[in-house]
Symmetry: C2
């Protein structure tokens, strides 16, 4: 019998080539260990509720009522739902035709897109057009949709930061394009040097690649830095000169843990720069309900907003969205709630503020605990997590550790992270999954474990790391592990 | 300024080429008319709740409780939720780690996949492996995932029925493969002739295309036929001989409106055929919560099950699924509820049966009303809707109507459907969106308008159609429209 279409050797090569480390070897091994009964701390993915974060009450009340609209007529509904949640559910149901069980327009419910546009206007100080906002099943799906519109073949290049969130490398591989890396500078707090960017583009062109778009992740994933206005201006200027679409991954815009560099959207900076740039630079910005202090990952809600994309191209993106009929409607409602939460004076306002502040302040404390913990370890250095949800320490692996890893046929950081997992149950992602400079090693962990568990986790990490270093540093002739 | 990456002329050609008529010209015009205040009857897409179908109560109670888990501790919860819904919600929450706000495994929640496997075993009489079941955001996403794994380039062909649901043509175009049509025979109740299939494959090979997979839609969309066991056996034999993966779109398996030909899954027929076929033919079957008597389109829940796909290929499909992190979790719960609804003796059983039987019986009556209505019209002939949700009448357009359409630069059926829309508000999809034989014209409408509205809709259709025919038939020298 000859081999078949869905045998491994006959699969689409782009499918086989793509890599997604966040759920790669480490995650699979962790899942195995968990099945065997080992306690695993999953810090491989920014999934707050999986680590015990409680959902915000108000949005869950609203969505529960939207899912069970017959409750709205129940005389007892007021006993377990506040009046503003009931009112909001009625309002959302009024925006749909057929409730949560009906497909919406493929761009999302018009009323929710209007709420998103109003949020963007409040945030940036410039009006936003709901017709240029598409709701999506989480931000990842939006990124893939846009990359799919841009990438025509292997000679189309997308500038992606290194280290990067591997959604970008995986999607570009899957779509058959070329990733053009630009390096973030660890010693400059993961800043971006425009001269390096120029060099990356020049090198790509030399290889025959047309660079068509540039990705920024702000706040950074896995690197945690917040981009300054000055840096954003340079980037936008660069995109204008080089005729690149700017893709702004801004999913962590609520997750800021310092006051010096607040989040500023690429769109605001672009519009502040005025003509001709404000009318010429093409920008697509992404957001989600999975991050922020919401962390509603499982609901798969998100949006992208397009700036300076001509109507004929928007129509094509709409057409492709329509093949999947519509993003999930409950996720759309979450997006509407996230951009338009309870206001002062609303019954649920105080509780909403208390819950969200509680989460955000705890995340800020955890960001410090983690950075400080890593920096107290032998051969580990770590920039502070200014924003997002991750810590990305550099692990200075001794040559003997690297050799041992090589003998096992593993990247040195994969080897380190596997040992860490087996010893402590902490499931991280090796830096090689995000990209890093040759010979430099990292790991990514979320800052999401419960605050009360953090000291024990960092202690357990330190114990493992320091023993590991002890074992593999050259002056030691014996083995302790 | 040179043109930019997201200008129309620079977009990915596959994006520009793909067509999706279900939300194409007719839908866009209908949306415009609706904005202008015209009453539109949207029968372009199988979206039952949008046309007034009420959601089943029990699943909505369960999902509301899963979304608001804090209600489970509320002493008043029993006043508005039945005990079995409360128990079921607790059970589902126990299957997740972190509730509905956490990403699940990228294949879906293991506990739900187990429920799906048990459902398949009850249905087919053969055990099913949860590891070979992936939950998806609706069936469409699953179809795209599998096609993406199969299609390597323009010389890879997929056999697709004509008429077909345009998800297939659109996805194949988007993924850069080749659609290889095989025609369903309208005069034989949309049956499929194996000799025609052979010819389609031979013709494709002659053009240098490697045919790799075959799509069947059973019950048929837009054609409504149910495949017989004999026909399914022939198809499976054919896939075996020609080394094709069989893709079984079985999303309408609950929607059956006659008793002669009940739904039988491709998997059951395959396994009944025994060795060697039962171990050699690769099959992927698709299902969804959007159809059946559930019609929960907006929730985007679905699954695919793989048969005879080797583990290394399953791993690759898993890896690609993981890039999108996880299907939406509420949609997964709906899938679990659909395959494992209340049982005799449960508090909610009677209500569940009453509601679902009510929907299904009304759909059966509507299927008859629509077929009979169409067949009473001048120049219209229509096969009975044995299953699914659509009526696909043939409209025998007079030569003068075809000429008029040509002059306007429109396909003749698009012209007819546009006139129908403007005259009556009935929004249909022209047959050309699904494919049809040269010179033969159809339209697709759902059978979903409310039963009480059906007589008026069919009357309004008949009036329009008969006047249209009157106007364009050759013996008439004057114009009445």
């Amino acid at each position: 019998m000859s081999s078949k279409a869905l045998d491994y050797e006959n699969l689409n090569e782009n499918v086989k080539k793509c890599q997604y480390a966040v759920r790669g070897e480490l995650y699979l091994r962790a899942s195995e260990l968990q099945k065997e009964g080992k306690k695993i701390i999953f810090t491989n993915v920014g999934n707050p509720h999986a680590l015990g974060q409680k959902p915000l009450t108000f949005p869950r009340q609203v969505i529960a009522l939207c899912q069970a609209p017959f409750l709205l007529d129940d005389p007892n509904v007021g006993l377990i739902f506040p009046a503003d949640a009931i009112a909001r559910a009625k309002q959302f149901l009024g925006m749909t035709s057929g409730g949560l069980g009906a497909y919406s327009d493929s761009r999302g419910i018009p009323g929710v897109r209007k709420e998103v546009a109003e949020f963007i206007e409040r945030r940036d100080g410039y009006p936003s057009d709901p017709e240029l906002i598409f709701l999506t099943d989480g931000a990842s799906k939006g990124v893939m949709q846009i990359l799919n519109s841009i990438i025509r073949g292997p000679s189309d290049g997308i500038l992606v930061p290194v280290p990067q969130y591997p959604l970008y490398s995986a999607s570009i591989q899957l779509l058959g394009g070329s990733l053009v890396p630009y390096y973030l500078e660890e010693t400059a707090n993961w800043g971006l040097d425009i001269n390096d960017l120029r060099q990356s583009v020049a090198q790509a062109r030399y290889k025959g690649i047309t660079v068509r778009a540039m990705v920024i992740i702000n706040p950074g994933n896995p690197t945690g830095q917040c981009l300054s206005v000055a840096n954003l201006k340079q980037i936008i200027q660069f995109c204008h000169q080089e005729n690149l679409v700017l893709l702004g991954d801004e999913v962590y815009q609520q997750n800021i843990y310092q006051d010096e560099r607040p989040f500023i959207s690429a769109r605001k900076v672009l519009l502040d720069m005025g003509l001709p740039l404000s009318k010429e630079v093409q920008l697509v910005s992404f957001h989600t309900v999975s991050k922020g202090y919401w962390g509603e990952c499982g609901q798969r809600g998100g949006y992208f907003e397009m700036t300076n994309i001509p109507p004929k191209a928007v129509e094509e993106i709409y057409k492709v969205a329509s093949i999947s009929l519509s993003p999930n409607v409950p996720g759309q409602i979450f997006m509407g709630l996230m951009v338009n939460p309870p206001k002062p004076g609303d019954i649920s306002y105080d509780q909403y503020v208390r819950e969200s502040k509680g989460i955000l302040e705890s995340l800020r404390r955890r960001a410090h605990m983690m950075t400080d913990g890593f920096n107290s370890c032998r051969n580990v250095v770590c920039n502070f997590t200014e924003g997002a949800m991750y810590s990305f320490p550099q692990i200075r692996l001794p040559p003997r550790a690297i050799e041992t890893a090589n003998k096992l046929g593993k990247a040195a950081d994969v080897f380190y992270c596997l040992r860490l997992l087996e010893a402590t149950g902490i499931s991280t992602v090796p830096g090689s999954g995000f990209g890093q400079k040759e010979g430099v090693f990292h790991l990514r962990t979320t800052i999401l474990p419960a605050e009360e568990d953090m000291p024990a986790i960092m202690e357990s990490f330190k114990k493992f790391n320091d023993e590991f270093m002890e074992k593999y540093e050259d002056h030691k002739g014996y083995s302790r592990m």
